[in-house]
């Protein structure tokens, strides 16, 4: 079995130490960062993602795999920089102002990381101004907004408006989600996409960056 396959399998099993070991070996063997990333780490996450979609594994299995992937990325980072390998996209993520719910947002974060995105997590109770500042600072492809309350979902619209007011709206795609949020609401506030769950949010995000490329 090649090191790339071993990396992929160790990620699927969530074995971070093994992932790092196999990456070290692959680097010594002269495998490129791009190969290790795409055919090792992301291949593992992708295969596990399919199993998750088919209800064969649970979220904890995916999260543990994402931890292994993150450890692997740390190991691979110097080589990625030297080969100028970039993440497939950048996302700024947060739960909107007045809302302290973070489980859904964290699930989305892990799914995005597992799909090769670089994620800046602003946390919970995040103001529209903080989203604007984070977009200026990180220049993401996507802004992802979470809200779980009927009385806070309107804050997603505030973020859209704030990005417009600061001339940033056309530079990012805006995704919204959360229990009370709907496609209709997404359309009303002028966001780009509504994601019904964490898995579909990652697929949506990928479609945005692929389309951009």
């Amino acid at each position: 079995m090649s090191n790339l396959q071993l990396i992929s399998e160790s990620v699927q099993k969530g074995r971070a130490k093994e992932t790092v070991t196999y990456i070290t070996e692959a680097i010594k063997e002269g495998v490129s960062a791009s190969d290790i990333l795409n055919n090792g780490l992301l291949d593992g996450m992708s295969k596990l993602g399919v199993r998750f979609k088919n209800n064969e594994v649970y979220v904890p299995d995916v999260l543990v795999a994402a931890r292994a992937l993150t450890k692997g990325l740390e190991e691979l980072k110097p080589l990625m920089i030297s080969e100028d390998i970039k993440p497939i996209g950048k996302v700024v993520l947060g739960t909107v102002k007045g809302d302290l719910h973070d489980i859904g947002k964290n699930l989305v974060k892990m799914m995005l990381i597992g799909n090769g995105f670089e994620v800046t997590d602003l946390g919970v109770d995040v103001s529209a101004e903080s989203f604007v500042n984070a977009v200026k600072e990180n220049e993401p492809d996507i802004v992802a907004l979470s809200a779980l309350l009927t009385t806070t979902m309107s804050q997603q619209g505030e973020v859209v408006n704030a990005l417009k007011a600061n001339g940033l709206r056309e530079k990012v795609k805006i995704m919204v989600g959360g229990a009370p949020v709907t496609q209709t609401f997404c359309d009303e506030i002028g966001a780009d996409a509504y994601a019904a769950d964490a898995a579909s949010s990652a697929e949506l995000a990928k479609s945005f960056v692929i389309h951009k490329q």
Partner: protein, 458 residues
Amino acid sequence: MRIFNTTTYDSLEDFVYSKAKNPVILKNGMVIGGGMLYPEINFTLPTMTINKETMPQILGIYKEIATGICQRAHELHVPGFVAEIETLPPMTFNPQWGIDVCSTVADVLNSYSEKYGYKASVRITPNDIREGDDLEHMWHGRHWDSILNTFEGCAKNGAELLAIESVGGKEVHDEAVMFCDISKSIFALSVLGCKDMGKLWTEIVRIADSTGTIASGDTACGFANTAMVLADRNYIPKTFAAVVRVVSAIRSLVAIECGAKGPHKDCGYEGVFVKAISGIPISMEGKASACAHLSPVGNVASCLADLWSNESIQHIKLLGGMAPTVCFEQLAYDCRLMNEASSKGNDKALFLRDCLADSDSLYDPQAYVLRPDVVLDISKQIMKEKTYYDRAKRGAIATVGILRKAYDERTLKLDDKELDWMDRIYDEIEDMPKTEQELTELMIPLCEKLNPEKYDLI
């Protein structure tokens, strides 16, 4: 401090809906747990922003909600009901807003009660705002003061039942649920949660005593219901959610130890264990809570209910009227049927209770652990231990054993990956430290979001 060493119930024959060993009598004479099942309606605002400018509109909406419910209660000959107001976060941060909402609803209920002669009472549940980076400490500071001020103000302005869904330990439990980490879950509930409950409920009972109101109960909604919702989406194993439900009972019982009298709040299904142990009446929610979330316990949840609730419903227009009014009607009919069965004799009530249990328990471990026979069994096992931590471990191990046996006897359906997780959960509990102190020392470095200073742990 009340200490429970045994279950209050010993036999399944008197462990049934509408009857509690220690009923609660309200000022209007309504007896909860005295043989009559009453509806408890809960509602929330439609999509809107809450601020100083919108508060007059918000009060108008609450008045409209309460009026619709009261009118429907009259139309359906409902003998009595409880209306629960769960404040939204801004209404706890600004206690006067919550107090105004409470007063508005209570005024409508009082007016209709006088006019039509039924009994109606308000339960206030301030949103527990002790989360976020700006929280100074769990038991002092702005957040703490706002919660207690909301309680006190509402108690003086129409609320008779005081309740909360407290969040002590939730920052740890959120991660425990995502990773299905049972050790962390037990730490969050039986160490952090119980410690917080002791502090919080001592204060709530003091407020209740000083205002002539009733300290009722505290559900682990943010813990066990979070697990349930994730399990229902197939994100985490259902068996994990079932175990968390049982462990949450140890935490929720602390309110009763501190002097709360019930009715226990609706939205955490652990109330059945609290009833078995303490004998207080409980509110439960089931099929009518489909308006808020999927649950696998729509029928079995009513087996032991003394109030029958709907979780929460948005004030939106349906063909039959505004949604809270429609939902209230559904609750009223459920209660009418169950009270009719009781009126025909205890054996008929038990028959209905068992039908309700049997109709759900085959399909989901979360429903199975709510069966009255299982509740009594697990409660007795929990009471064999003295400390919260030991009770949590005992309850969790007992639950896994009972679920495994039910699966083997084909009285519970589980898929293969659930079985694997049951073994994992069991093994992890067996490996947990012997004492709470050891667990705490082990956990503090592992819990990224826990600030131990806020719990006086260091």
